[in-house]
Protein backbone atom coordinates (compact mmCIF):
# COMPACT_ATOMS: atom_id res chain seq x y z
CA UNK A 1 0.00 0.00 0.00
CA UNK A 2 1.13 3.49 -0.92
CA UNK A 3 0.24 6.49 1.17
CA UNK A 4 1.14 10.04 0.11
CA UNK A 5 0.47 12.73 2.68
CA UNK A 6 0.61 16.49 2.19
CA UNK A 7 3.41 16.18 -0.32
CA UNK A 8 5.17 19.35 -1.39
CA UNK A 9 7.99 19.30 -3.90
CA UNK A 10 10.09 21.75 -5.88
CA UNK A 11 12.34 21.57 -8.90
CA UNK A 12 15.15 24.06 -9.38
CA UNK A 13 13.68 26.10 -6.52
CA UNK A 14 10.22 26.29 -8.07
CA UNK A 15 7.34 24.82 -6.05
CA UNK A 16 5.39 22.33 -8.18
CA UNK A 17 3.56 19.99 -5.79
CA UNK A 18 1.60 21.86 -3.16
CA UNK A 19 0.05 19.31 -0.85
CA UNK A 20 -0.76 16.04 -2.60
CA UNK A 21 -2.72 13.40 -0.66
CA UNK A 22 -3.28 10.00 -2.22
CA UNK A 23 -3.71 6.45 -0.98
CA UNK A 24 -3.39 3.47 -3.29
CA UNK A 25 -4.24 0.05 -1.91
CA UNK A 26 -2.93 -3.27 -3.17
CA UNK A 27 -4.71 -4.47 -6.28
CA UNK A 28 -5.97 -1.03 -7.26
CA UNK A 29 -5.39 0.91 -10.45
CA UNK A 30 -5.63 4.68 -10.16
CA UNK A 31 -5.68 7.03 -13.10
CA UNK A 32 -4.22 10.50 -12.68
CA UNK A 33 -5.32 13.18 -15.10
CA UNK A 34 -4.72 16.89 -15.18
CA UNK A 35 -3.75 19.76 -17.45
CA UNK A 36 -0.27 19.99 -18.95
CA UNK A 37 2.17 21.28 -16.40
CA UNK A 38 -0.02 20.47 -13.40
CA UNK A 39 2.70 18.30 -11.83
CA UNK A 40 1.84 14.71 -12.82
CA UNK A 41 5.33 13.80 -13.97
CA UNK A 42 6.81 15.67 -11.03
CA UNK A 43 4.79 13.48 -8.67
CA UNK A 44 6.03 10.40 -10.52
CA UNK A 45 9.65 11.45 -10.29
CA UNK A 46 9.31 12.26 -6.61
CA UNK A 47 7.86 8.80 -5.99
CA UNK A 48 10.87 7.14 -7.59
CA UNK A 49 13.38 9.46 -5.94
CA UNK A 50 14.79 11.52 -8.78
CA UNK A 51 17.43 13.70 -7.06
CA UNK A 52 16.49 16.67 -9.26
CA UNK A 53 13.27 17.02 -7.32
CA UNK A 54 13.32 18.30 -3.77
CA UNK A 55 10.65 17.25 -1.31
CA UNK A 56 9.97 20.22 0.93
CA UNK A 57 7.14 18.82 3.05
CA UNK A 58 5.02 15.74 3.58
CA UNK A 59 5.55 11.99 3.60
CA UNK A 60 5.28 8.88 1.47
CA UNK A 61 5.00 5.43 2.99
CA UNK A 62 5.11 2.27 0.93
CA UNK A 63 4.26 -1.02 2.59
CA UNK A 64 5.00 0.57 5.94
CA UNK A 65 8.42 1.94 4.89
CA UNK A 66 9.41 5.58 4.62
CA UNK A 67 9.88 5.74 0.87
CA UNK A 68 11.56 9.14 0.95
CA UNK A 69 14.38 7.71 3.07
CA UNK A 70 15.26 5.12 0.43
CA UNK A 71 17.69 5.55 -2.48
CA UNK A 72 16.10 5.22 -5.94
CA UNK A 73 17.62 1.78 -6.46
CA UNK A 74 16.24 0.54 -3.14
CA UNK A 75 12.80 1.88 -3.99
CA UNK A 76 13.04 -0.18 -7.17
CA UNK A 77 14.00 -3.25 -5.15
CA UNK A 78 11.05 -2.63 -2.86
CA UNK A 79 8.85 -2.93 -5.93
CA UNK A 80 8.40 0.59 -7.31
CA UNK A 81 8.64 1.02 -11.06
CA UNK A 82 8.14 3.98 -13.34
CA UNK A 83 7.45 3.88 -17.04
CA UNK A 84 9.03 7.20 -18.04
CA UNK A 85 7.11 9.75 -20.07
CA UNK A 86 10.37 10.30 -21.96
CA UNK A 87 12.55 7.20 -21.61
CA UNK A 88 16.27 7.94 -21.60
CA UNK A 89 18.70 6.74 -24.22
CA UNK A 90 21.80 4.99 -22.91
CA UNK A 91 24.07 4.48 -25.91
CA UNK A 92 26.50 1.61 -25.64
CA UNK A 93 24.80 -0.18 -22.75
CA UNK A 94 22.93 -3.09 -24.29
CA UNK A 95 19.42 -3.94 -23.16
CA UNK A 96 20.67 -7.38 -22.15
CA UNK A 97 23.47 -6.08 -19.93
CA UNK A 98 21.22 -3.39 -18.52
CA UNK A 99 18.48 -5.80 -17.51
CA UNK A 100 20.95 -8.35 -16.21
CA UNK A 101 22.44 -5.70 -13.94
CA UNK A 102 18.99 -4.57 -12.79
CA UNK A 103 17.66 -8.04 -12.14
CA UNK A 104 20.76 -9.28 -10.36
CA UNK A 105 20.90 -6.16 -8.18
CA UNK A 106 17.38 -6.92 -7.03
CA UNK A 107 18.25 -10.54 -6.36
CA UNK A 108 21.27 -9.46 -4.37
CA UNK A 109 19.05 -7.13 -2.32
CA UNK A 110 16.99 -10.18 -1.37
CA UNK A 111 20.05 -12.33 -0.72
CA UNK A 112 19.70 -14.40 -3.90
CA UNK A 113 22.39 -15.54 -6.30
CA UNK A 114 22.55 -14.01 -9.81
CA UNK A 115 20.19 -15.64 -12.26
CA UNK A 116 21.96 -18.28 -14.38
CA UNK A 117 22.52 -17.06 -17.96
CA UNK A 118 20.14 -19.55 -19.56
CA UNK A 119 17.30 -18.74 -17.20
CA UNK A 120 17.90 -15.05 -17.68
CA UNK A 121 17.69 -15.34 -21.45
CA UNK A 122 14.58 -17.49 -21.18
CA UNK A 123 12.97 -14.84 -18.98
CA UNK A 124 13.78 -12.09 -21.50
CA UNK A 125 12.32 -14.15 -24.31
CA UNK A 126 9.13 -14.85 -22.42
CA UNK A 127 8.61 -11.20 -21.46
CA UNK A 128 9.46 -9.93 -24.92
CA UNK A 129 6.68 -12.07 -26.32
CA UNK A 130 4.26 -10.63 -23.79
CA UNK A 131 4.71 -7.10 -25.11
CA UNK A 132 5.66 -7.97 -28.69
CA UNK A 133 9.24 -6.69 -28.61
CA UNK A 134 11.57 -8.14 -31.23
CA UNK A 135 14.73 -9.99 -30.13
CA UNK A 136 17.07 -7.64 -31.97
CA UNK A 137 16.30 -4.86 -29.48
CA UNK A 138 18.13 -6.84 -26.79
CA UNK A 139 21.55 -6.30 -28.32
CA UNK A 140 20.93 -2.62 -29.01
CA UNK A 141 21.79 0.13 -26.56
CA UNK A 142 19.02 0.97 -24.10
CA UNK A 143 16.48 3.00 -26.11
CA UNK A 144 19.29 3.83 -28.53
CA UNK A 145 17.62 4.91 -31.74
CA UNK A 146 14.30 3.39 -30.61
CA UNK A 147 11.22 5.11 -32.04
CA UNK A 148 8.80 6.80 -29.64
CA UNK A 149 6.46 3.82 -29.65
CA UNK A 150 9.29 1.31 -29.32
CA UNK A 151 10.51 3.12 -26.23
CA UNK A 152 7.11 2.88 -24.60
CA UNK A 153 6.83 -0.79 -25.44
CA UNK A 154 10.29 -1.23 -23.99
CA UNK A 155 9.20 0.39 -20.74
CA UNK A 156 6.43 -2.16 -20.25
CA UNK A 157 8.82 -4.92 -21.26
CA UNK A 158 11.15 -3.85 -18.45
CA UNK A 159 8.21 -3.74 -16.09
CA UNK A 160 7.37 -7.30 -17.08
CA UNK A 161 10.95 -8.42 -16.42
CA UNK A 162 11.30 -6.67 -13.06
CA UNK A 163 7.82 -7.54 -11.75
CA UNK A 164 7.22 -4.50 -9.55
CA UNK A 165 4.36 -4.36 -7.06
CA UNK A 166 3.63 -0.69 -7.70
CA UNK A 167 3.95 0.76 -11.18
CA UNK A 168 3.67 4.30 -12.42
CA UNK A 169 2.78 4.58 -16.09
CA UNK A 170 3.46 8.17 -17.14
CA UNK A 171 1.71 8.62 -20.46
CA UNK A 172 2.79 5.21 -21.65
CA UNK A 173 -0.08 5.38 -24.16
CA UNK A 174 1.26 8.41 -25.99
CA UNK A 175 3.40 7.40 -28.93
CA UNK A 176 1.95 3.89 -29.23
CA UNK A 177 -0.10 3.05 -32.30
CA UNK A 178 -3.53 1.47 -31.71
CA UNK A 179 -2.35 -2.11 -32.09
CA UNK A 180 0.74 -1.54 -29.97
CA UNK A 181 -1.37 0.06 -27.25
CA UNK A 182 -3.66 -2.96 -27.18
CA UNK A 183 -0.72 -5.36 -26.93
CA UNK A 184 0.95 -3.33 -24.21
CA UNK A 185 -2.29 -2.87 -22.25
CA UNK A 186 -3.04 -6.59 -22.43
CA UNK A 187 0.50 -7.27 -21.30
CA UNK A 188 -0.01 -4.91 -18.37
CA UNK A 189 -3.32 -6.54 -17.40
CA UNK A 190 -1.80 -10.01 -17.52
CA UNK A 191 0.86 -8.90 -15.03
CA UNK A 192 -1.70 -7.72 -12.49
CA UNK A 193 -2.18 -9.63 -9.26
CA UNK A 194 -4.13 -8.86 -6.07
CA UNK A 195 -0.81 -7.56 -4.66
CA UNK A 196 0.08 -5.18 -7.49
CA UNK A 197 -1.15 -1.65 -7.92
CA UNK A 198 -0.61 1.15 -10.40
CA UNK A 199 -0.79 4.86 -10.94
CA UNK A 200 -1.58 5.51 -14.58
CA UNK A 201 -1.16 8.99 -16.02
CA UNK A 202 -2.99 9.66 -19.24
CA UNK A 203 -4.84 12.27 -21.24
CA UNK A 204 -6.92 9.82 -23.25
CA UNK A 205 -10.13 7.84 -22.99
CA UNK A 206 -8.70 4.85 -24.81
CA UNK A 207 -6.35 4.29 -21.89
CA UNK A 208 -9.30 4.42 -19.47
CA UNK A 209 -10.95 1.68 -21.52
CA UNK A 210 -7.89 -0.51 -21.28
CA UNK A 211 -6.90 0.21 -17.68
CA UNK A 212 -10.35 -0.19 -16.11
CA UNK A 213 -9.27 1.98 -13.14
CA UNK A 214 -10.80 1.82 -9.69
CA UNK A 215 -10.31 5.55 -9.19
CA UNK A 216 -9.62 8.65 -11.22
CA UNK A 217 -7.99 11.77 -9.77
CA UNK A 218 -7.45 15.20 -11.20
CA UNK A 219 -4.27 17.08 -10.41
CA UNK A 220 -4.27 20.83 -10.95
CA UNK A 221 -1.59 23.28 -9.90
CA UNK A 222 0.12 20.74 -7.68
CA UNK A 223 -2.93 19.49 -5.79
CA UNK A 224 -5.50 16.78 -6.29
CA UNK A 225 -8.68 18.76 -6.83
CA UNK A 226 -11.15 16.02 -7.68
CA UNK A 227 -11.55 12.29 -7.16
CA UNK A 228 -14.01 9.93 -8.73
CA UNK A 229 -14.44 6.64 -10.50
CA UNK A 230 -13.89 5.95 -14.17
CA UNK A 231 -16.89 8.06 -15.14
CA UNK A 232 -14.93 11.14 -14.05
CA UNK A 233 -12.35 10.24 -16.65
CA UNK A 234 -14.96 9.98 -19.39
CA UNK A 235 -16.50 13.25 -18.32
CA UNK A 236 -13.12 14.98 -18.62
CA UNK A 237 -12.71 13.54 -22.10
CA UNK A 238 -15.98 15.26 -23.02
CA UNK A 239 -15.85 18.48 -21.09
CA UNK A 240 -12.15 19.16 -20.50
CA UNK A 241 -10.75 20.38 -17.20
CA UNK A 242 -12.13 23.87 -16.98
CA UNK A 243 -15.30 22.93 -15.13
CA UNK A 244 -13.12 21.38 -12.43
CA UNK A 245 -10.18 23.72 -12.15
CA UNK A 246 -11.99 26.95 -12.97
CA UNK A 247 -10.55 29.70 -15.16
Amino acid sequence: MLEIKNLHAAVDGKAILKGVNLTINDGEVHVLMGPNGSGKSTLSHVLVGNPRYEVTEGSITFNGKDLLALAPEDRAHEGVFMSFQAPTEIPGVSMTNFLRAALNAKRKYYGQEPLPAQEFLRLLREKRKLVGLDAHFMSRGVNEGFSGGERKRNEIFQMAVLEPTFSILDETDSGLDVDALRTVAEGFQSLRTPQTSALVITHYQRMLDYMRPDFVHVLADGRIVKDGDVSLGYEIEERGFEWIVGQ
Binding site: V48, G49, N50, P51, R52, A71, P72, E73, R75, A76, H77, F81, M82, F84, P87, T88, E89, I90, P91, G92, V93, S94, T96, N97, F98, L99, A101, A102, L103, A105, K106, Y109, A117, L121, L124, R125, A135, M138, S139, G141, V142, Q158, L162
Partner: protein
Protein backbone atom coordinates in the same frame (compact mmCIF):
# COMPACT_ATOMS: atom_id res chain seq x y z
CA UNK B 1 71.74 5.82 -25.29
CA UNK B 2 68.65 3.72 -24.77
CA UNK B 3 68.32 0.41 -26.41
CA UNK B 4 66.02 0.43 -29.36
CA UNK B 5 63.74 -2.50 -30.13
CA UNK B 6 63.47 -2.87 -33.85
CA UNK B 7 60.79 -4.91 -35.57
CA UNK B 8 60.40 -5.51 -39.23
CA UNK B 9 57.09 -6.85 -40.51
CA UNK B 10 57.79 -8.57 -43.80
CA UNK B 11 55.98 -7.68 -46.98
CA UNK B 12 52.54 -9.27 -47.10
CA UNK B 13 52.71 -10.62 -43.54
CA UNK B 14 49.69 -10.40 -41.24
CA UNK B 15 50.33 -10.22 -37.53
CA UNK B 16 48.36 -9.71 -34.36
CA UNK B 17 50.37 -8.84 -31.27
CA UNK B 18 49.58 -8.11 -27.66
CA UNK B 19 52.16 -6.23 -25.63
CA UNK B 20 52.18 -4.99 -22.10
CA UNK B 21 54.33 -2.05 -21.23
CA UNK B 22 55.85 -2.10 -17.77
CA UNK B 23 57.65 0.72 -16.01
CA UNK B 24 60.85 2.22 -17.30
CA UNK B 25 61.80 3.31 -20.76
CA UNK B 26 60.84 1.86 -24.10
CA UNK B 27 62.09 2.84 -27.48
CA UNK B 28 60.46 0.94 -30.31
CA UNK B 29 60.77 1.17 -34.06
CA UNK B 30 58.43 -0.90 -36.20
CA UNK B 31 58.47 -1.02 -39.96
CA UNK B 32 55.53 -2.45 -41.88
CA UNK B 33 56.78 -3.50 -45.28
CA UNK B 34 54.68 -3.35 -48.43
CA UNK B 35 51.21 -4.80 -48.03
CA UNK B 36 51.79 -6.09 -44.52
CA UNK B 37 49.25 -5.82 -41.74
CA UNK B 38 49.74 -5.39 -38.00
CA UNK B 39 47.10 -5.43 -35.30
CA UNK B 40 48.86 -4.20 -32.21
CA UNK B 41 47.13 -4.30 -28.84
CA UNK B 42 49.07 -2.56 -26.19
CA UNK B 43 48.43 -2.18 -22.47
CA UNK B 44 50.21 0.45 -20.45
CA UNK B 45 50.11 -1.41 -17.16
CA UNK B 46 52.61 0.83 -15.44
CA UNK B 47 53.84 4.36 -15.87
CA UNK B 48 56.91 5.00 -17.97
CA UNK B 49 58.51 6.78 -20.85
CA UNK B 50 57.70 5.43 -24.32
CA UNK B 51 58.88 6.42 -27.73
CA UNK B 52 57.38 4.55 -30.64
CA UNK B 53 58.06 5.08 -34.30
CA UNK B 54 56.05 3.15 -36.86
CA UNK B 55 56.72 3.36 -40.59
CA UNK B 56 54.24 2.06 -43.13
CA UNK B 57 55.21 1.23 -46.68
CA UNK B 58 52.78 1.08 -49.60
CA UNK B 59 49.48 -0.67 -48.86
CA UNK B 60 50.50 -1.54 -45.31
CA UNK B 61 47.83 -1.45 -42.62
CA UNK B 62 48.23 -0.75 -38.94
CA UNK B 63 45.56 -1.02 -36.28
CA UNK B 64 46.78 0.06 -32.87
CA UNK B 65 44.59 -0.17 -29.79
CA UNK B 66 46.23 0.98 -26.60
CA UNK B 67 44.85 0.91 -23.09
CA UNK B 68 46.30 3.11 -20.38
CA UNK B 69 45.33 1.47 -17.13
CA UNK B 70 47.94 2.40 -14.56
CA UNK B 71 47.74 4.97 -11.77
CA UNK B 72 51.18 6.45 -12.35
CA UNK B 73 52.91 8.82 -14.73
CA UNK B 74 53.37 7.92 -18.32
CA UNK B 75 54.50 9.65 -21.42
CA UNK B 76 54.04 8.15 -24.83
CA UNK B 77 55.34 9.69 -27.96
CA UNK B 78 54.01 7.93 -31.04
CA UNK B 79 55.12 8.89 -34.50
CA UNK B 80 53.51 7.14 -37.44
CA UNK B 81 54.85 7.77 -40.94
CA UNK B 82 52.70 6.82 -43.91
CA UNK B 83 55.48 6.44 -46.45
CA UNK B 84 53.94 4.42 -49.27
CA UNK B 85 50.78 4.97 -51.25
CA UNK B 86 47.63 3.39 -49.84
CA UNK B 87 49.00 2.93 -46.33
CA UNK B 88 46.38 3.01 -43.58
CA UNK B 89 46.80 3.65 -39.89
CA UNK B 90 44.06 3.33 -37.34
CA UNK B 91 45.18 4.56 -33.93
CA UNK B 92 42.90 4.01 -30.98
CA UNK B 93 43.22 4.34 -27.27
CA UNK B 94 41.35 4.32 -24.01
CA UNK B 95 42.74 5.97 -20.90
CA UNK B 96 41.25 5.13 -17.55
CA UNK B 97 42.56 7.41 -14.85
CA UNK B 98 42.12 7.51 -11.12
CA UNK B 99 44.18 8.59 -8.14
CA UNK B 100 47.06 10.74 -9.31
CA UNK B 101 47.51 9.15 -12.70
CA UNK B 102 49.13 11.49 -15.17
CA UNK B 103 49.09 10.07 -18.68
CA UNK B 104 50.37 12.06 -21.62
CA UNK B 105 50.27 10.93 -25.20
CA UNK B 106 51.70 12.81 -28.13
CA UNK B 107 50.55 11.36 -31.38
CA UNK B 108 51.92 12.44 -34.69
CA UNK B 109 50.78 11.00 -37.98
CA UNK B 110 52.67 12.09 -41.03
CA UNK B 111 51.11 11.64 -44.45
CA UNK B 112 54.32 11.61 -46.50
CA UNK B 113 52.88 10.47 -49.82
CA UNK B 114 49.53 10.62 -51.58
CA UNK B 115 46.51 8.38 -51.01
CA UNK B 116 46.99 7.38 -47.37
CA UNK B 117 44.43 7.17 -44.60
CA UNK B 118 44.72 7.80 -40.90
CA UNK B 119 42.13 7.59 -38.17
CA UNK B 120 42.50 8.38 -34.47
CA UNK B 121 39.92 7.50 -31.84
CA UNK B 122 40.87 8.24 -28.25
CA UNK B 123 38.67 8.14 -25.18
CA UNK B 124 39.59 9.10 -21.65
CA UNK B 125 37.65 8.42 -18.45
CA UNK B 126 39.25 10.44 -15.71
CA UNK B 127 38.43 10.31 -12.03
CA UNK B 128 40.17 11.16 -8.78
CA UNK B 129 42.83 13.76 -9.35
CA UNK B 130 44.03 12.23 -12.58
CA UNK B 131 45.22 14.06 -15.65
CA UNK B 132 44.91 12.82 -19.19
CA UNK B 133 46.55 14.62 -22.05
CA UNK B 134 46.27 13.70 -25.69
CA UNK B 135 47.85 15.79 -28.31
CA UNK B 136 47.14 14.50 -31.76
CA UNK B 137 48.78 16.02 -34.77
CA UNK B 138 48.22 15.11 -38.36
CA UNK B 139 50.80 16.45 -40.73
CA UNK B 140 50.04 16.26 -44.44
CA UNK B 141 53.19 16.89 -46.47
CA UNK B 142 53.11 18.78 -49.74
CA UNK B 143 52.41 16.20 -52.40
CA UNK B 144 50.36 13.97 -50.09
CA UNK B 145 47.21 14.56 -52.12
CA UNK B 146 44.03 12.55 -51.51
CA UNK B 147 44.93 12.10 -47.87
CA UNK B 148 42.09 11.14 -45.57
CA UNK B 149 42.27 11.71 -41.86
CA UNK B 150 39.91 11.62 -38.89
CA UNK B 151 40.64 12.57 -35.30
CA UNK B 152 38.09 11.97 -32.57
CA UNK B 153 38.96 12.67 -28.95
CA UNK B 154 36.43 12.42 -26.16
CA UNK B 155 36.93 12.75 -22.44
CA UNK B 156 34.63 11.92 -19.58
CA UNK B 157 35.35 13.51 -16.22
CA UNK B 158 33.98 11.60 -13.26
CA UNK B 159 35.44 13.82 -10.56
CA UNK B 160 35.75 17.59 -10.22
CA UNK B 161 39.49 17.28 -9.61
CA UNK B 162 40.24 15.37 -12.81
CA UNK B 163 41.72 17.17 -15.81
CA UNK B 164 41.42 16.35 -19.48
CA UNK B 165 43.39 17.91 -22.27
CA UNK B 166 42.72 16.73 -25.77
CA UNK B 167 43.94 18.70 -28.71
CA UNK B 168 43.55 17.61 -32.28
CA UNK B 169 45.80 19.53 -34.66
CA UNK B 170 46.10 19.59 -38.38
CA UNK B 171 49.00 20.82 -40.43
CA UNK B 172 48.28 20.56 -44.12
CA UNK B 173 50.62 21.39 -46.98
CA UNK B 174 48.65 19.64 -49.75
CA UNK B 175 45.39 20.95 -51.20
CA UNK B 176 43.30 17.91 -52.14
CA UNK B 177 42.73 16.30 -48.72
CA UNK B 178 39.84 15.42 -46.44
CA UNK B 179 40.58 15.84 -42.76
CA UNK B 180 38.13 15.98 -39.88
CA UNK B 181 38.72 16.42 -36.22
CA UNK B 182 36.68 16.85 -33.08
CA UNK B 183 37.16 16.88 -29.33
CA UNK B 184 34.60 16.77 -26.55
CA UNK B 185 34.72 16.82 -22.77
CA UNK B 186 31.72 15.81 -20.70
CA UNK B 187 30.41 14.40 -17.47
CA UNK B 188 28.31 11.32 -16.76
CA UNK B 189 24.77 11.70 -18.07
CA UNK B 190 22.59 12.36 -15.01
CA UNK B 191 19.39 11.33 -16.77
CA UNK B 192 20.89 8.01 -17.85
CA UNK B 193 22.22 7.41 -14.34
CA UNK B 194 18.83 8.03 -12.83
CA UNK B 195 17.07 5.82 -15.36
CA UNK B 196 19.37 2.95 -14.37
CA UNK B 197 18.93 3.57 -10.67
CA UNK B 198 15.14 3.55 -11.13
CA UNK B 199 15.51 0.06 -12.52
CA UNK B 200 17.43 -0.97 -9.42
CA UNK B 201 21.01 -0.69 -10.62
CA UNK B 202 23.05 0.74 -7.72
CA UNK B 203 24.74 4.03 -8.51
CA UNK B 204 28.35 2.75 -8.60
CA UNK B 205 27.34 -0.05 -10.96
CA UNK B 206 25.39 2.39 -13.11
CA UNK B 207 28.45 4.68 -13.34
CA UNK B 208 30.54 1.71 -14.29
CA UNK B 209 28.19 0.67 -17.07
CA UNK B 210 28.20 4.21 -18.47
CA UNK B 211 31.98 4.47 -18.32
CA UNK B 212 32.38 1.10 -19.92
CA UNK B 213 29.97 2.12 -22.68
CA UNK B 214 31.96 5.30 -23.20
CA UNK B 215 35.13 3.44 -24.14
CA UNK B 216 33.17 0.69 -25.90
CA UNK B 217 33.81 1.93 -29.41
CA UNK B 218 37.57 1.89 -28.80
CA UNK B 219 37.33 -1.77 -27.80
CA UNK B 220 35.25 -2.40 -30.90
CA UNK B 221 38.31 -1.51 -32.94
CA UNK B 222 39.95 -4.71 -31.73
CA UNK B 223 39.21 -6.95 -34.66
CA UNK B 224 40.30 -10.20 -33.03
CA UNK B 225 37.49 -11.53 -30.87
CA UNK B 226 39.61 -13.27 -28.27
CA UNK B 227 41.78 -10.26 -27.75
CA UNK B 228 38.72 -8.06 -27.59
CA UNK B 229 37.22 -10.17 -24.83
CA UNK B 230 40.48 -10.05 -22.91
CA UNK B 231 40.92 -6.30 -23.25
CA UNK B 232 37.27 -5.74 -22.37
CA UNK B 233 37.72 -7.76 -19.20
CA UNK B 234 40.84 -5.76 -18.33
CA UNK B 235 38.99 -2.49 -18.76
CA UNK B 236 36.19 -3.71 -16.57
CA UNK B 237 38.57 -4.86 -13.86
CA UNK B 238 40.29 -1.50 -14.02
CA UNK B 239 36.98 0.29 -13.56
CA UNK B 240 36.20 -1.94 -10.62
CA UNK B 241 39.61 -1.23 -9.16
CA UNK B 242 40.43 -4.92 -9.27
CA UNK B 243 43.16 -4.96 -11.85
CA UNK B 244 46.40 -6.60 -10.83
CA UNK B 245 49.44 -7.36 -12.90
CA UNK B 246 48.14 -10.88 -12.92
CA UNK B 247 45.29 -9.74 -15.11
CA UNK B 248 47.67 -8.26 -17.60
CA UNK B 249 50.18 -11.05 -17.62
CA UNK B 250 50.16 -13.05 -20.82
CA UNK B 251 51.52 -16.24 -19.30
CA UNK B 252 48.71 -18.70 -19.04
CA UNK B 253 48.14 -19.66 -15.45
CA UNK B 254 45.30 -20.58 -13.18
CA UNK B 255 44.02 -17.12 -12.38
CA UNK B 256 42.58 -16.69 -15.81
CA UNK B 257 38.92 -16.45 -16.70
CA UNK B 258 37.57 -15.68 -13.29
CA UNK B 259 36.01 -12.51 -14.45
CA UNK B 260 32.72 -11.99 -16.08
CA UNK B 261 32.72 -9.59 -18.97
CA UNK B 262 30.15 -7.27 -20.41
CA UNK B 263 30.27 -8.92 -23.77
CA UNK B 264 26.79 -9.74 -24.90
CA UNK B 265 25.41 -13.16 -24.59
CA UNK B 266 23.54 -13.95 -27.72
CA UNK B 267 19.90 -14.53 -27.40
CA UNK B 268 18.87 -17.40 -29.59
CA UNK B 269 15.96 -16.84 -31.86
CA UNK B 270 13.32 -19.26 -30.74
Amino acid sequence: MDNKDIFDIQAGAQLTRFVQLQGGKDNIHITLRTGSQLDLYCVEAEGGERTVLIDLEAGARLCLVSLTLHEQQSHLSLHVRLMGEGAEASLNGAVIGSGHMDARQELLVEHCVKGCTSDMLYKQVLGGESTGLISGRVLVDAGAQKSLSEQTFASLLTSPMARAYAQPQLEIYADDVRCNHGATVGKLDEAALFYMRQRGIPEPEACLLLQHAFVGDVLQRVADEQHRAKLTALVEQRFRGQMTMCNVCTNKCKNEDETRSYENENEDEN
